[in-house]
Symmetry: C5
Subunit: 354 residues, 5 copies
């Protein structure tokens, strides 16, 4: 599903900080899931309300709260109250048309970005906005949809020996970002396959459908770039920030994610150039086909038009046309009927029209 | 109504600071409206002259003065005298061809920007220049037209519990800017609908009118970008300024408006790319249609020209043409008349011309 | 008259600082005109030689020296001697192919820029290089041509109440720059009118002349941008400079000129985009016209070629052609002659070729 | 072999630092080769395992370890353990889809870049990722493939008088980088030859194959630029770094490599412009050929169609056609049959169609 | 002679600092020429070997050494030894594929740039690399070719009153740079003349040769820009440098050269835009010509095809065709033969096809 550029504007005129969900409704129900872990243990369980998080607020364990679905505005409000989050942040979480950004507050970091996944089947991009509130020991993650995007991380958390289990909320944040950015590589892989198909179409059998396909891909690239480019700025802002919430050694990992995002962006740019090239080939091959059509017409017309004229001459009814009475006139004409096309065909052959 | 690029140049040669209204006259009468509020009360009333503002100048309440229509130069002059505004600022307020900008003076801030609203009916953009003079407790707002753009803010002010009522002139300024920038989202929505219509035209039934429509939209995008891009710079200048007139906590809100303006600008850029893509499809589909025309001509001509030649042969009046006297010559020719087109049709079918 | 990109290179090989006039000769005679003013009085008079300026050099009044025509190298030399100007500056004044620039010397400022005015009649741009030497109490202005460009300023100077009369040489400099930059708005107005005409030509009656017109305007825009863009940098350099020759309060005015130059540059950029759009429409409409021609040909040929073939059949002279002897054969053929075109016309109508 | 944009994504979901080889397998076996040298001696030998490097770790001689083939993850792991390398670095070494980069760690420098070599035969680019770990006295180099890329360096090392023998690990690093960047010049040479061939094709005999060739080269240029541009940034980062591992005098040499990389990048950019120009010529020459085809058709049709009509007139069977009985009618018609084409040919000649 | 993008790569694999001449051999013999001057005297003479320079090394006079031809590597080696020049600098002097650059060493400055001169005859650019080693009292200049490029400077040096004679090595350097950059203006003049010719061709008589000419000029512009743009950076680096070898007052002169280089670069950019415009006109005029051809064909075919059909009808041999026996049938048909074309011609006239 392509991300519409249209931005739902129902909220216009409301005071800032008014909590209303803006965006497509992907999940009717909001589901809350908690993973609480230290290097010793890792507990996973669903919860019913934000109130159940109270115990984790000041515990020394790391708590990862996954909130899927954004329709229940109350959940976001409760999060705001319990963790003392600025109303503008809560508003941004609920509005799923955010530009990726990183904001540093006194007690927490706010990160919002889009996860771009390839759809199964025909190539198209699935956009999901993911917001992160990073506190000292708690990471709150808001997702639009229910999917298994973070299963690999859950698996790592179950493994007591992983680095993730023994690190803080900043490293968990890094892992989440890494997981999201790396979806971009899957996207590039899917794109690559599609481009190869389109390319062989353009060369072998260009149709208007091929053109539409190229344009559709170009437009997807416009959207992907619009959503990926700010990720680079966002990560640069994180790397520049000197927040006490991010440990020294985590910066190396964030730099790594930043490199990955750069590679994804550069690949997208390359594919834009390649698609523009395909469009040029498409247009050239349309011209080439027109040329071919014109040549067929010209060859047919140029050969038969003079012959028809010749035949027309001897179809005239003049009284005094001596040729009409010659015995070999008719066969002689047949010689002309065969010689003229032969000469013309040689001429066209030389011009490489045949 | 599209904003003409033409700049009225009647004022050339006048000394700077000369107060003359430059721009289209939208309102014949200048109307003044005042909202005076504290967290306790909020009074709205019209006034006749700027002199009536004297009481609010040093009061501790926040006073929002809305001046609609710019034809009465005297009003602007009076504002200049009462609040000691620099003549260049007054001149800028009256000239409605300003670039959006932010200027910091000792006792006040000057902000000028364009509000871009979609017209009803066919897509076009309505431009209105709005200037703000932000003093300690007074915000003077100059509008070109009478409209209900700020009704949502008035509604918020009537509500005693809103954050707006309990904040200063800087927060009011923020609210005004937010209201203006958010009109951009409405514009994008309207644009999106129009582009979808144009797109289906380009694919299904491209006419010169479609081309004009694409060009008109592209030109609107040029104008919108020219008026929106400086808004980003303007807000960046506000965020950088360390004016005592803007409270610490208001910067967060201004950053939010800045994000919104960025989203609008990026959407506009995306639509420019999309419109360029549509133009390419248009041109390609014109070529495709020409191809189709050429194929029809070629098929018709290539089939009938040889047949006509054949018929022409046996229309000749030679004395010695043995075939003319054969009994089965005529039916045999009919076989040729049917076989030749059949072969050619198969050939054209194979070339995918049919 | 379009500004030739060609740069007269007669001076190559001369030592730097050699004073030779480089450029087109617009005025055979160099005319010197002096306005000397304080808030009390304003005297205007012509002078014959630079020597007559000696009295103004150290007087407390402000002296504006207008030098029209650059052919008399001696005048520039005398100015150099009297006011102790660097030889490179004198050289730059005489060479009318300068890039707009601002240079700060110990005792004076040097400003050179182009004044761009629309020619009367058909749209074209008139370029005039204007150099300013700004001293404490004297402003020396060098113009290529004799025209009434600065009449509005002279008028202001005659008015004892204007701000200009009571300000220093920096404000006079500002007024001159403002006057020059504002000519850009006149240019944009003239351009706008021309573009509207070209636009209606492109839509209604595109001819090769229209194409040439578009290209001519595009090229004018290239030149205008080349001469206007550095003005922005020049003004930025002035705003950054902390020269004691520019008073604190004058910076506000210079910032205003800078804003104006920005608006002119952005308008020029917009017109470049618009002209590129017109070129695309032109090319598309040429294709459309070709399509129309092809359709006419195809319709004519497709209708008559089969009919001619039919007529050809019954023009054959076979002995055994039973149809020839049928009574209703000829009328029946006429039915075919009418039915076939009718069917084809319906077919072409359905294809929207008619 | 062109570098696929596709990035193998098998590793997604693994924790960071997990050592898995990502990329095409070029060498089944990992080969280790050591050159140990001082100004006195230079020993070259193969080793079986990283353990054999222990003796060189703290020796005062310079040790260059060349590791060819990346499939044996154990080798990289052993390197990590012995030299205490950050797991992310080891991961980067194994993933052959890296962006060129330079990273500074406490005890070592990490450099990764692509070596771009022209393939033999038809023009295409061979990409090999080369990673360098630069320690005080040891340089570990990881290569994807077995080739003789560094033979010139080995030859220099055997020569006891070369500067290389008497310098440290930083100078060896410079030599390696210089060797890699200079491959770019070979690439440009190969490209230049290919472009000259394509160019003569475009002018003399443009076929769809020529178009494909242009597009293929353009795409190679996109890839080359994507891999070369970051090299400039990488070298700039090295020049900015104040690592104690790089001696003062080595910076001059690095600056020289940086200049070389810039020259390669600028050449690539120039070739992109040139290829775009060739594409324009290609499209123009297709149009020119179409024009030629159309002219032939038009000349043939315009000459014979009127003649055929004339002949048709006198093929009519009206009873009362006096011309049919005139003696000189037939010869007179032949005069027309010769005059009309002659006149038309002169006309077409004048129009430069022949 | 256009500067090939190809870079001779014979030197690959050699250690850095290895002195080998890389580039085309323009002069078989290396010629050395010395000008030694103070404000008192100026001596010019040829020398045979670098050893003869020993006396000038520490003299207080300024010595300008001109070395023409780079094939004698020994000369460059001797210069290196006598003046203690870094081997990389010597290598750069010998390699004539350098990017223009400025490098500051402890005791000398190294400057390398290209002199771009127009060839006589058809427009093409002559590239000559010129390297300068600027010491306290000596300027060593290395040129590829023997030409009279610096005659104007020699003439100035012979004049005892010129500023050049009384200034130091930095002013001589400036004079050399100024002389080189000003060749750019000659180039622009030659280019301007050529563009005017091409332009009139495009409008009046576009042929494929015109297209090639445009492409050739575009490619020259690509090369010129590639060689001129870095000159700007180079001069900026000189202006930033605070080398004791450059006197305070010389910076003003260098700034002047920098302005000139900027003007040349901007002119080149403008010509690139103009050439792109010409290409668009070329393509449009090809389309226009095709349109014209098509119209001629359509007019001929549309007029004669219906007439031929009419004639064909009455060439049929039906027994019962009453018209054949009417007395006025034949003249009536002639009326049709004249009326139908007349009507069609009026129709085509109205469509502006004639």
């Amino acid at each position: 599903m392509s991300d519409s550029l249209s931005t739902v504007s129902d909220k216009l005129g409301m005071p800032p900080g008014a909590l209303v969900h803006v965006g497509n409704v992907h999940e009717a129900v909001t589901r809350l899931f908690v993973v609480d872990y230290t290097s010793e243990y890792a507990n996973e369980h669903s919860i019913q309300s934000i109130d159940e998080l109270r115990q984790y607020r000041n515990s020394s364990s790391i708590t990862w709260v996954i909130i899927e679905g954004l329709t229940d505005v109350g959940v976001v409000e409760d999060v705001g109250k319990m963790f003392d989050i600025h109303p503008l942040v809560l508003e941004d979480i609920l509005n799923t048309h955010q530009r990726p950004k990183f904001e540093e507050y006194d007690d927490y970091l706010f990160i919002v970005l889009k996860c771009l996944m390839p759809e199964k089947g025909e190539f198209s991009v699935n956009y999901e906005q993911i917001s992160l509130l990073v506190l000292r020991n708690v990471v709150l993650m808001f997702k639009e949809k229910t999917d298994d995007l973070f299963n690999p991380l859950l698996k790592q958390l179950r493994n007591s020996k992983g680095r993730l289990r023994s690190s803080g909320s900043d490293y968990l944040t890094y892992s989440v970002l890494d997981n999201i950015v790396d979806q971009g590589f899957l996207l590039i892989d899917a794109l690559d396959e599609t481009v190869i198909l389109v390319e062989s179409d353009v060369y072998d059998n260009p149709t208007p459908a091929t053109l539409n396909q190229i344009q559709r891909l170009k437009r997807e690239m416009i959207n992907v770039r619009r959503n990926m480019s700010p990720v680079r700025e966002m990560l640069a802002a994180m790397l520049r920030s000197e927040s006490p919430l991010i440990h020294e050694q985590t910066y190396l990992y964030l730099r790594d994610v930043s490199d990955h995002s750069l590679r994804v962006i550069e690949s997208v740019e390359s594919y834009r150039d390649i698609l523009s090239g395909l469009l040029e080939i498409y247009i050239s091959s349309i011209s080439n086909k027109m040329n071919e059509v014109m040549k067929v017409l010209t060859v047919f017309a140029s050969i038969f038009i003079p012959l028809t004229f010749l035949a027309g001459i001897y179809g005239m009814n003049f009284e005094y046309m001596p040729e009409l009475h010659w015995k070999w006139a008719y066969p002689a004409l047949w010689v002309a009927f065969i010689t003229i096309p032969a000469v013309l065909l040689v001429y066209f052959k030389k011009k490489k029209w045949l």
